[in-house]
Symmetry: C2
Subunit: 240 residues, 2 copies
């Protein structure tokens, strides 16, 4: 049995939701309200000591980190539709993109996503209540990020993040002049990762990066992914 | 044919050298003198646009990023001795550790490694000569790191890095109370990664973390890895 603990159908949670739907795997869901810090509650930290979503449990085996989870699904369900190329070169191209996305793109998008969604929420909280939640966060770097979004991320950091997002979109645009998908001729975990990390949200968070008719290949790629039934199903995951 | 472009037998280059020797694969080597910034010379940047080592070229297919390279070797040479468990759970545990090492441990060790090896070298350089080298570096974050090591990394950053290294060693120690190797019963790419990123260098760079008889499992694990013929062969790779 597969059981997914997740928050909203966005970012790392969306990555795994899309993979599960693309592979047509049955799974149970447990929704956590991240705005109420449910991911740091003791019952959940007992499952995922980092207090982060998503977590996937497969017949009692606990998996964390969405990129690791999605590769696991490829290994554990080899007869389901493949999102990782079966040839070594295609798998390497997929992993190269995933590494780039995880280490360069994700945090840059995330900073602006947090600002957009969590600035007001955290500022409106009673300071003592906020501190109570902070004390429960297992990872020091996550605690720092929550404190930073409440205080307001520094302008230079926000600007540097926009530069990084623009570079990632340039890199995607360049790749798509050569191949229809990021890792070649096949839609892979790399496309799922880039899309879930920052696909539909780019227009809202970084309108300046899509002004005019620039980045046409990104728009086309986005449209092709949004048209996939599995992606529509994943995006429609209820927040409850 | 396999051709490895590498610097000293340390860190990311050592990771791939160990994997190649463990798998008993024949390969050619091209040594780059990183202290002369050969990794940023145009002929090499034409092969690896990031201007970083290592790069592996397999029959014309160019691979960068040591963690991606080492997984590729598993896929491309399935009949060679395996460093990635063949079961899905073992592979996921290996990748979980690799992700943790790449995103948390590596940079912390690296900062102190750079300080140890490159502070004097960069400070003794003529400013104009140093700037000439800087202009050739493709990655902005690498340029920043070279400038920072010359200026001296901030004390708080160095202290924070020591905390991170200590946390990683704690995590390793805890794992080794349960299993002989990081990902379970089998020596894997995760052990190779942790060892190459910061194994033998810990005693020299962070003596305070090994004072007294603490971290006995780390010492034992280090001894078992150093005793492997493939590791000895990799460590003996000539710097030329």
């Amino acid at each position: 049995m597969l059981k997914l603990y997740h928050g909203p159908a966005a970012a790392n949670g969306l990555k795994v939701l899309i993979a599960l739907h693309e592979k047509a795997l049955d799974f149970q869901r447990v929704y956590l309200d991240l705005h109420r810090f449910e991911q740091h509650e003791p019952w959940y930290v007992a499952i995922n000591p980092d207090g982060q979503v998503p977590t996937l449990v497969h017949d009692g085996f606990v998996l964390t980190q969405s990129s690791v989870i999605n590769e696991y699904l490829e290994d554990a369900f080899p007869d389901a539709p493949a999102l990782r190329p079966r040839d070594a070169q295609g798998a390497a191209r997929t992993r190269g993109w995933n590494k780039y996305i995880d280490e360069n793109y994700m945090e840059a998008v995330s900073m602006h996503g947090w600002k957009f969604r969590l600035s007001d929420l955290t500022r409106q909280m009673d300071p003592a209540e906020f501190e109570t939640y902070m004390q429960r966060i297992p990872l020091e770097r996550q605690r720092r990020k929550w404190r930073a979004v409440r205080a307001g991320f520094p302008d230079e950091a926000l600007a540097a993040a926009i530069v990084k997002v623009g570079e990632a979109l340039d890199r995607l645009e360049l790749q798509l002049t050569d191949t229809p998908w990021l890792a070649g001729g096949q839609y892979t975990l790399a496309d799922v990762n880039f899309f879930a990390t920052g696909g539909n949200s780019i227009e809202r968070l970084f309108p300046q990066l899509l002004a005019g008719d620039i980045r046409p290949r990104f728009r086309d790629w986005l449209g092709r992914i949004n048209a996939r039934p599995a992606v529509q199903a994943a995006l429609a995951t209820p927040a409850q």
